[in-house]
């Protein structure tokens, strides 16, 4: 346990930690480009130079191991000079095309230039020119002029994605970052390189030139495209999601996430959204309708069906919605016909799994279904009963809140024909698909970024999502749906707040006991008996060495 | 047919036409005059090809616009009185002009023909009788529009006109006493004399206070600034003619300008010698230049004087701010009216004294 002094403050760190780590522990900001806490140390940018007493030259704090009795200075004139010089060097050939650079506004080079240098260029010769629009692969474009050759991206791909396609070639000011000829960077984690890039060299094709970053508002949420539940920030402006980036949480995903999760948001902005209620007429064509009218029809159908009314929930629904779903059928309708299909969604693109962040299970809240629905229906045989009743033509009312139901079930044909026999099929959905086409009534539902609630990760971690903006068009939140129907049935209702539902849920279901929204916070909290399952997220000192390159 | 009838018809047609034609001229004078007073150019754009006549075509363009506007009537306006009101304003103003002499009598084919439509022995009385009718038009307009603003404007206007009608009448009593006649032509003729051979014996010299009071009352009668209270954008919108548009509105406008002409003509006749060319009597003039030129000279003298007073109306409007309503009423009842009465008595006493002196000498 070495004890050292940095800028007059003493700190004790574990053996093997660097001066940089020690300074971070003290909250001292040392500028850096190549150093990334989750990657191996390269020490090539020279930005983090510090002055250590009894050592004549400045040392890079990211590579220097903290030692007993070290006295470190980070703000001496010598250090400041060094920082200015390093920045001047980095900017010698940097194009400074910030106005068209997507990184501008969140660019460490920009920020640190203003913080540590702010001096005009003394260069009188032409900058070296390199290709500015290199197509690295399906997701990424590279601007070789902007690159400061910190190799964060190279290290990320090698250390986490086992991908050695990216590297630097040539020497001196002709050094460029590139792939092997004819081999594109085609990796499902490739967009993390854009995140780690300290300049605007690597840009996401999806986000490129769409929006300046300072317009974006960040709403914390979690990714719902597989059971991993990576923590994310939804970056949006005026009801339009522009990109999704990981939100650091060492209990789930660290600073990483997969490209699939990043790019799946497009459906939120999509034109295929169910924008308003649809009602199927006599001629089997669906026409637009209003909520009031539709709720009236649903209420009529439910009154007619009595306790034979059935419902199918989805493992994509929040815990709160699942709880309200169960309570609505059990308490309000006195029906025992409600269930959720938790099997995986059928073959969709990108359905794969690895030992890093992608899980085969694409349901973000399967654990929630497993914990909550048995509270209302301990037998758990309702699904089969619903199918049988439907097949026999004896199902007067079925509410499906699982838009992927048909791709989820194994005997797809059997379900398809059974659903056609339901007298009143109500489907709540975000997108128009095969199932909504079959429905008598389609209800527009909010997408997950438009909802508030919690999800239960497969390992038992309960994580919150926040509402980024109000639901599009006439879409309503799933949680509010049951209340609307109950009101249409003439029951006495009151507005439901997700937090209130969760508090009730936590008091009724043992798994969630003791949890509350403040306790969950942004990082999530484990339910009873849960145990964190995370892959290796960091490549710091102490972890195994990278494979030789 | 008798020459007198023919002349009568001709006069009955020409004089109102002349009065009506003076409206565009006055409108033009008002607009360009006010513009020049305020360092502006005023309307000078209306044109027929390159001809703009210094903006004189604007009133004609206005007239065309007003004629072709939709004759709109508010739903709850009175179906008969609403359209009738504008006519009640214009017609009396025109009728008043009937007794104003434009020149001295002419002798044609052995007949002596007066140069007014009708020479009445009690012409002045007729004038006051007829011109008072226009108050009815304004009251009616305010009431028949079925609009709060109109009604308030109409009420205000009525109160104002009735108040000043009194002073208007009283202020000329003195003059009438001096002249001893109610015949406008006779009054004009009486002013052809001179004092000491140099100063024309115009009514204004014999009745300076009477003239001043008459002028003030005339401004109030014509609803002109500083007494234009029936209108008022900030408090009454457009007053009694808020609900009027197109030609109906222009008739109110016309009424206002014709009233201006009439009151100017009356002022001239009563206080400025009417058709008298200064220092030259009808007989002397006729002997020098012959009858047609004599009539022309007298008419031009009359027209010039009248035009000056019309201009005075305009001039004052663009010089003075308006009175507040209470100030208006106080001025009318507490200043003008008592002064008029005093004027009548003083004139009467002076005349009595003069007569007494003459009688004793």
């Amino acid at each position: 346990m070495p004890k050292l002094t940095i800028d007059g403050k003493e700190v004790t760190v574990e053996k093997g930690q660097t001066v940089m780590n020690a300074a971070e522990k003290l909250g001292i900001d040392i500028p850096r480009f190549c150093y990334h806490p989750n990657l191996s140390v390269a020490g090539n940018c020279r930005m983090c130079l510090v002055d250590i007493e009894k050592i004549p030259k400045l040392l890079t704090s990211c590579t220097t191991e903290a030692a007993e009795g070290m006295v470190v200075h980070t703000t001496t004139d010598k250090v400041k000079d060094a920082q200015r010089v390093v920045l001047e060097f980095l900017l010698v050939n940097h194009p400074i095309d910030c106005p068209i650079c997507d990184k501008a506004g969140e660019c460490p080079l920009q920020d640190q230039y203003y913080k540590f240098s702010s001096e005009p260029s003394r260069m009188e010769v032409e900058k070296t020119h390199k290709p500015k629009r290199v197509d690295l692969g399906p997701t990424i474009k590279l601007d070789q002029e902007r690159c400061v050759l910190c190799t964060r991206c190279v290290r990320f791909l090698e250390e986490f994605a086992d991908d050695h396609s990216l590297g630097t070639v040539n020497r001196g000011d002709r050094t460029i970052l590139t792939t092997f000829p004819g081999q594109p960077l085609d990796n499902v984690y490739s967009l993390n390189t854009v995140d780690v890039c300290p300049v605007g060299a690597l840009t996401s094709k999806d986000f490129r030139f769409k929006k300046r970053v300072w317009f974006l508002k960040k709403t914390p949420s979690i990714c719902t495209f597989c059971a991993t539940g990576c923590n994310i920030n939804v970056e949006h402006d005026e009801g339009h999601v522009y990109r999704i980036r990981p939100r650091e949480n060492d209990g789930v995903n660290g600073p990483w996430m997969c490209d699939t999760g990043r790019l799946e948001y497009t459906f939120v902005n999509s034109e295929d959204r169910v924008k308003c209620c649809l009602v199927r007429g006599e001629d089997h064509r669906q026409s637009r309708s209003g909520w009031d009218e539709v709720l009236k029809r649903i209420a009529e159908a439910i009154l007619h069906a009595g306790n034979r009314a059935a419902g199918i929930a989805s493992p994509r629904m929040t815990n709160e919605s699942l709880y309200e779903f169960g309570r609505f059928f059990q308490m309000t309708l006195k029906s025992q016909r409600f269930a959720a299909v938790t099997s995986d969604i059928g073959p969709i693109e990108g359905r794969r799994a690895d030992d890093f962040l992608i899980r085969a299970d694409k349901n973000p809240n399967r654990r929630g279904v497993e914990e909550i629905l048995p509270h209302f229906d301990p037998q758990g045989e309702a699904l089969q009963k619903i199918l049988e009743a439907a097949e026999a033509g004896k199902l007067p009312f079925l509410l499906i809140l699982d838009q992927d139901l048909l791709s989820r079930v194994e005997d797809h044909q059997r379900w398809h024909s059974a659903l056609e026999k339901v007298s009143c099929l109500v489907v709540g959905s975000t997108l128009e698909n095969e199932l909504t086409k079959m429905a008598h009534i389609v209800l527009p539902l909010a997408s997950w970024v438009e909802e508030e609630g919690t999800y239960t990760r497969f390992d038992g971690r309960v994580q919150r999502v926040w509402r980024a903006f109000p639901a599009r068009g006439e879409a309503r939140e799933t949680l509010a749906l049951f209340n609307c129907v109950a009101a249409a049935l003439g029951k006495k209702t009151q507005a439901v707040r997700p937090q209130a539902v969760f508090d009730e849920l936590a008091s009724r279901i043992r798994f969630y006991g003791g949890l509350s929204y403040p306790a969950i916070g942004k990082d999530g909290a484990l339910g009873a008996g849960g145990e964190t399952v995370v892959p290796r997220l960091s490549y710091g000192p102490g972890s195994e060495q990278p494979a030789a390159t | 047919m008798n020459i007198e009838y023919i002349a009568g018809i001709i006069k009955a047609v020409t004089i109102p036409v002349m009065a009506l034609n003076s409206i565009p001229l006055l409108v033009w004078m008002e607009r360009r005059g006010s513009a020049f007073i305020q360092n502006r150019h005023g309307p000078n754009r209306a044109n027929i090809g390159p001809i703009t006549l210094f903006g004189l075509l604007h009133p004609f363009a206005d007239a065309i616009k007003c004629v072709f506007k939709e004759p709109f009537r508010p739903t709850k306006a009175h179906p008969i009185f609403y359209p009738l009101a504008p006519a009640l304003v214009v017609v009396p103003a025109l009728l008043t002009l009937a007794v104003v002499p434009l020149a001295d009598h002419i002798f044609l084919m052995g007949a002596e023909i007066p140069m007014s439509v009708a020479e009445l022995e009690y012409g002045i009385v007729y004038m006051f009788a007829v011109s008072s009718i226009s108050v009815l038009g304004i009251t009616l307009a305010g009431w028949a529009s079925n609009n709060k603003f109109s009604l308030m404007g109409g009420l205000r206007s009525t109160a104002q006109m009735i108040s000043y009608e009194l002073s208007l009448g009283l202020s000329i009593f003195g003059a009438l006493l001096v002249y001893g006649s109610l015949n406008p032509n006779e009054i004009a003729r009486l002013q052809g004399e001179t004092f000491f051979g140099v100063i024309p014996a115009w009514g204004v010299l014999m009745q300076p206070l009477g003239f001043l009071l008459f002028l003030i009352a005339a401004f109030a009668e014509a609803n002109r600034n500083p007494f234009d209270l029936p209108e008022g954008e900030s408090e009454l919108v457009a007053g009694y003619h808020t609900e009027y548009g197109g030609m109906k509105f222009s008739m109110f406008m016309m009424g206002e300008y014709v009233a201006m002409v009439t009151l100017s003509a009356l002022t001239v006749t009563l206080f400025f010698g009417g058709w008298q060319v200064p220092w030259v009597t009808t007989e002397a003039l006729q002997a020098t230049v012959g009858q047609p030129l004599r009539v022309l000279c007298q008419f031009l003298a009359f027209a010039g004087k009248t035009l000056f007073f019309c201009w005075l109306f305009i001039w004052v409007r663009w010089t003075l701010p308006r009175f507040r309503y209470d100030q208006l009423m106080r001025l009318g009842w507490k200043v003008i009216l008592p002064l008029s009465i005093v004027n009548v008595f003083v004139t009467a006493l002076v005349l009595l004294g003069l007569g007494w002196m003459k009688g004793t000498l």
């Binding site: 910030c98 106005p99 629009r133 030139f209 | 010089t319």
Partner: protein
């Protein structure tokens, strides 16, 4: 403020006032050209050098817009009246250029912050054109075509 008798009688004061207005009238009638009012559309007042007129988008010599769609103008705009959509240029063209550049002249407050914000001298307000009238909301939205159409610049102004 109390008035003395002469003032209370009004008549003298009124005559004084009348003299002032008639003096004005005569002076202006004698010298119509010397009047401070000008006949506006025919005679234009010289536009001050610093006058902020309708915007224009400047072009490079090859006719392409100088604008790189960096959106600094939209960021600086206090009225949020500038709407830009960026597009990636083909090889040999500008890397980033605006495929859509709309200014809503109804919202614009003519503050000129966009001009100050522009790092590329791509937007200027030196056309000397007064805020233009139009008869529908759509016509107030000036697109790239409108912003690159302007009469000859009489008073060119270098960016700040």
């Amino acid at each position: 403020m109390s008035m003395d008798f002469k003032e209370q009688v009004y008549v003298v004061e009124i005559v004084k006032g009348l003299m002032i207005t008639i003096r004005n009238l005569l002076r202006n009638m004698m010298n119509m050209r010397g009047m401070p009012t000008i006949s506006y559309p025919e005679i234009m007042k010289a536009v001050a050098h610093r006058y902020r007129g309708r915007h224009r988008l400047t072009q490079k010599e090859d006719g392409m817009l100088k604008c790189t769609a960096c959106m600094l103008c939209a960021t600086a705009c206090p009225a949020k009246c500038i709407q830009i959509e960026a597009k990636e240029g083909a090889d040999g063209e500008a890397e980033k250029y605006p495929s859509l550049y709309n200014i809503d002249m109804l919202e614009c407050v003519y503050c000129g912050l966009c001009v100050e914000a522009c790092p590329c001298d791509a937007i200027r307000m030196d056309t000397g054109i007064h805020p233009p009238p139009a008869d529908s909301r759509e016509k107030f939205i000036y697109r790239i075509e409108d912003l690159t159409t302007y009469p000859e610049i009489k008073n060119p102004r270098d960016p700040v």
